[in-house]
Every structure is written in structure tokens, then in C-alpha cells.
């Protein structure tokens, strides 16, 4: 593993550990969803995005919208680790009056957040608006929107999917965190999601499938946006819900379960951070 990749790997493991610890301390759920997108967030924030945490409103910054807003605990930790605000800002996580809870606040209330999500199906349309604004200004910035596979039940996702290629927005990437679960069941059983990559392709997107836990592959792929095809980019990231902790992986109970102290310790051990 080269140094850069080793750094990314450590960042991803640290991110996971912080998410799990915070879930235990604050009773914040959606651990499985957070862990499934932890590598995508790590690759984007630490290996790809053109951002300067000291200038969170820089007009030419790359934007990332966590459209699956219930994974906000992962976003908060990633933003803090990247330096958008001190880690100690999260000392009041989950307390009355804090901005750190289950979903991202609006950008005015936390640097680094591009959109307050939580209701599914909102992030991609907002991302298209941001990409349109960027194009109008002649900016080279890119917009990454991370969607859940369950989120792809929402009609507004497909409204956006149909419009983006029609107007040639090629600096947008929709990254589907395809962990095969939604809140109550396997995502391909709740609604007919398959073939997911073909759906995006049929809508006119340039589609890539990737192992959503392969940091090297994620970084290389995300750096290719825009990919020269003139189309928006859809990345189907095959992931595992609860990834990184053996007893959480692919167990949908961790959509809502909160880890005990012993489970936190075991998880950190598995992550090599005990």
C-alpha cells in the first residue's frame, strides 16, 4: 500500500471508529448506513475534492451533498476530520440545542455542509441546481451527491436523472451507496431496483460500477468526473451495510441499534484502533 493510500485507509478506519463511538455516546442511530458510505466519504473528502476548509464558501469548491441525510453522523465526523470545524465542536453532540444530530443542518449552521438533507430524494435535484449555477459562472467545480439505494425509490431522483443529461450537466456525479438494504427489507425486494446500473444508463448517464469499499478505486473513479463523455456520471458503489465491523456487516438491525460499550471496544479492535 503506498503512503497516500495508507493515509486514506487510516482515515476511513478512524472515521468508522468515531462514528461508532459517537453512536454509543449519543444514542444516534443509522450506524449501518453510516458505515456503508464511510469509504465513499473518505475518498471524496481526503482524496478527490478540491476544497479548502478555511474557505468553506469558496465559489469554486467542489460540492458534496449527502442526499441520504440519515448518514449525517458520518458526514459530521468526516467534515471535522477534514478540518471544517474542530472535533471538539462535537462535544455537545446530541445535546439539546446542538446542531449535531441525526441529519445535517443547513449550510449556514455548519461549515462544509452543502444541503440540509434527511427527506430522501432532495439531494440530487439540489445538486443539479448547483452544477447549473457553476456552469453559468464558468466554474470548474464538481458536484457529488451520495444517494442511498432505498432513496432511489423516490420519484424525484428519477426526475433529476432524466433532466441532467438533457441539459448536459456533466460535472455532476450521483454516487449510489448500494448496500442492498433499506430500512425494513432488502432494497431489491421492496421495489424493483435491478438492474440499477442499466436504469441510470438508460436515463442517459455515464455509469460506473465500483467496489464502494475500495478506496483506491473510488479515488481514481471520482477523480475522473467529468469523464469526457459530456454526460453526468452515475457511480453504483457496491457496499456492505455496517462495513468494517464483523458483527454489524450486512445485519440490518444496525439501521437502528445502538452499540454497547463492549461492542464499541470490539469494533475498535477490529478496526485496528483499540
Amino acid at each position: 500500500m503506498d503512503t497516500a493510500l495508507a493515509d486514506l485507509d487510516l482515515a476511513a478506519r478512524t472515521l468508522r471508529a468515531r462514528i461508532i463511538e459517537t453512536s454509543h455516546k449519543t444514542g444516534t442511530p443509522h450506524l449501518g448506513s453510516c458505515l456503508s458510505c464511510a469509504d465513499i466519504l473518505t475518498a471524496a473528502y481526503f482524496g478527490v475534492m478540491n476544497i479548502d476548509p478555511a474557505q468553506p464558501k469558496h465559489p469554486d469548491r467542489d460540492r458534496l451533498i449527502l442526499s441520504k441525510g440519515h448518514a449525517a453522523p458520518a458526514l459530521f465526523q468526516a467534515l471535522a476530520m477534514r478540518g471544517f470545524f474542530p472535533l471538539s465542536d462535537m462535544d455537545d453532540y446530541g445535546a439539546d440545542g446542538s446542531v449535531f444530530g441525526e441529519h445535517p443542518p443547513t449550510p449556514d449552521y455548519l461549515p462544509g455542509v452543502e444541503a440540509a438533507t434527511g427527506s430522501l430524494g432532495h439531494g440530487l435535484p439540489m445538486g443539479l441546481g448547483m452544477a447549473f449555477a457553476g456552469r453559468l459562472r464558468g466554474s470548474q467545480h464538481r458536484v457529488f451527491a451520495i444517494l442511498g439505494d432505498g432513496e432511489c425509490n423516490e420519484g424525484s431522483v428519477w426526475e433529476a436523472a432524466m433532466l441532467a443529461p438533457s441539459i448536459g450537466l456533466d460535472r455532476v456525479a450521483a454516487i449510489v451507496d448500494f448496500n442492498k438494504w433499506q430500512a425494513t427489507d432488502r432494497s431489491r425486494e421492496v421495489m424493483k431496483l435491478d438492474p440499477l446500473a442499466d436504469k441510470w444508463r438508460a436515463f442517459g448517464w455515464s455509469v460506473y460500477e465500483v467496489d464502494g469499499h475500495d478506496l483506491d478505486a473510488l479515488v481514481k473513479l471520482l477523480r475522473r468526473v467529468p469523464d469526457g463523455s459530456g454526460k453526468p456520471v452515475a457511480i453504483i458503489a457496491h457496499t456492505v451495510k455496517g462495513k468494517g465491523v464483523s458483527f454489524m456487516e450486512d445485519d440490518n438491525n444496525w439501521h437502528y441499534r445502538i452499540p454497547t460499550e463492549a461492542e464499541v471496544a470490539k469494533a475498535k479492535q477490529e478496526l485496528g484502533l483499540a
Binding site: 449550510p107 440540509a116 434527511g118 432532495h122 441546481g129 449555477a133 453559468l136 426526475e159
Partner: protein, 299 residues
């Protein structure tokens, strides 16, 4: 009003490079001038209003001044959650224009009517709700709306509305305009019922007010009116639940003290299961100058 909107937004779009017009597959040819003068800033978003509203919010978060335009139910209730979360919660300057509001599209049936929009949009935090009476108020209102740093909803009619103002009045969001002076009764209209009130006032010493802004409510003006008149009527092409009449009644209840006789006119709490023109529906629903005059003045 549609044409006035098109020409005004063209002028504003030409002057301000931040203005972007989003349309939901409506207004064929109406915006040709805008397209020619604000090149690249007209976007037909198709028949997909949720995405259109979300995109507008994303644009506004990134420094643009998007104006979203389609038929009222589709630019309001169809994408209400995007308005609530993406525009209002983020407090971004999206201007939402609903055309053919109230019963303007009477002939098209209740799918195209909008007699609930004021109630539904008014309750959203940060939202400004405007209802211009004529093309003058539309023009001035649109200009004022573009100066706001928060979302604005503007309900407009379709075409051929009577002209209320002979000259440009002083216009500010949240400041009602006195369109006729009189000391016996006070008649308040909003949007196309301002003209209704002017007709109802004929032959009476009636003051007529245009409440072009439903939210924020002009409470200062209400104090003056409620202190000065024993009879106050409000008419709107909107449900009697939740619109301007309700807003004033809420204010009146909060204020307490002696209350004038308060007469709200609007659409009953039911869908019309019949067809007809806007005038016919208004008549059947009792939103006519004659009915208002008879109730208020007893003539």
C-alpha cells in the same frame, strides 16, 4: 398578467445575470424574449416539478436568483416538500410564481384550481406570500421580490385582469395599498378581488385596500383599519380557511379588544363538481361585488 410577467421577468433577467427562469413545460413562446435576452438562463425542466423546485433551491444556494414558473397547483402543492425543505428551511431566494391562480382556470376543473395555496404557503417559515392585484402590482412586486433574501411565493392570474392602479403606487412588500378612500366601511381585497372590492364600493363611502402581501401581514395598516371602521370585509379567490381572511382573523383574535363586524368572503370548503367560467364559479360561490355589497352595506 401572464404577459406582464413575461415582459417584466425579461427586463429583470436582462439587467441581472443572476436571474434564471425555470418553467415546468409551460409558456410555449411566452418566454421567447427572455430566452433571447438572457441566453442560457431559461430552463424548461419538463413536467417534473419536484426536481425543478429542488434545482431552484440549489441554484439559489449558489448565488443565482431562480424564478420558478408553472400553473399554481404544480408549482405549490405538487412540490410542497421541496418548497418547505429546499427553499424555506435553507432560506434561499427562490421566487415561486403560480399562474392561473384561484379560479382563473375555472374551466379546467379542480385539478387546476388553487384555492388552498395561500393557506399552505403562508404557514411555511421564511416564506413571503404575495398576491398582486394587477399588472402594476405584479411588476413592482416582482422587482421587490428579487430584492428579498428568502423565498417568495407569488400567485398571479392568467390574462385580461382589470387594471386597478392608474399610476405606479408606492410599493413595498408587506405594505398594503389604499386604492380608494372612504369612511363608512372598509373592503380588503387581495389579488383579483381588489377589483371585486372596487366594484362593491361603488356608490358607498367605502375604503378599499389592496393586501398584495398576505405574509408578512401589514399589521400596522390593520391597526389603523380596525380602529377606524365598524365594518370590515375581506374577499379572496381562495378557501375561507387559511387565506388572507384567516390571517386577519388570527391577528384580530391575538389583538383582542373591541372588534368590528368582520365579513370574510371566499371559496367554501368544497370542490366544485361542475364546470363553468371563472365568473360563473365566483357567482356560485358568492364572491361577487353584488353579494359583498349586499352583505356589507345591506343594500
Amino acid at each position: 398578467m401572464r404577459n406582464a410577467f413575461a415582459s417584466e421577468i425579461t427586463a429583470l433577467g436582462e439587467a441581472d445575470p443572476r436571474v434564471v427562469l425555470l418553467s415546468g413545460d409551460i409558456g410555449n413562446r411566452l418566454f421567447d424574449n427572455f430566452k433571447a435576452r438572457a441566453v442560457g438562463r431559461f430552463l424548461n425542466c419538463g413536467i417534473a416539478e419536484a426536481n425543478m423546485m429542488g434545482m431552484a433551491a440549489g441554484m439559489a444556494l449558489n448565488g443565482l436568483r431562480p424564478v420558478v414558473y408553472t400553473i399554481t397547483p404544480f408549482t405549490t402543492t405538487r412540490c410542497l416538500e421541496q418548497i418547505r425543505v429546499d427553499a424555506c428551511y435553507h432560506k434561499v431566494p427562490v421566487i415561486i410564481v403560480g399562474t392561473g391562480s384561484g379560479l382563473s382556470y375555472a374551466e379546467l376543473g379542480p385539478t387546476h384550481h388553487s384555492c388552498e395555496d395561500l393557506a399552505i404557503l403562508r404557514v411555511l417559515p421564511e416564506m413571503v406570500v404575495m398576491c398582486p392585484a394587477d399588472v402594476t402590482e405584479l411588476r413592482l412586486g416582482l422587482r421587490a421580490a428579487l430584492q428579498q433574501d428568502r423565498p417568495v411565493y407569488m400567485r398571479i392570474g392568467k390574462k385580461g385582469e382589470p387594471q386597478v392602479h392608474a399610476a405606479d403606487p408606492d410599493f413595498a412588500i408587506g405594505k398594503a395599498i389604499t386604492v380608494r378612500k372612504g369612511c363608512e366601511v372598509c373592503l380588503i381585497g387581495t389579488g383579483n378581488t381588489v377589483w371585486t372590492m372596487i366594484l362593491a364600493a361603488q356608490g358607498v363611502q367605502a375604503r378599499v385596500e389592496s393586501f398584495h402581501t398576505v405574509k408578512p401581514l401589514d399589521e400596522q395598516r390593520l391597526v389603523e383599519l380596525f380602529n377606524g371602521y365598524a365594518i370590515i370585509a375581506v374577499a379572496e379567490e381562495h378557501s375561507r380557511i387559511g387565506g388572507l381572511g384567516s390571517a386577519i382573523a388570527e391577528w384580530m383574535a391575538r389583538r383582542g379588544g373591541p372588534m368590528p363586524r368582520f365579513l370574510p368572503f371566499g371559496v367554501a370548503d368544497e370542490f366544485p363538481h361542475y364546470i363553468g367560467s371563472q365568473a360563473y364559479m365566483r357567482e356560485r360561490m358568492g364572491i361577487t361585488p353584488e353579494v359583498i355589497a349586499a352583505s356589507v352595506i345591506g343594500r
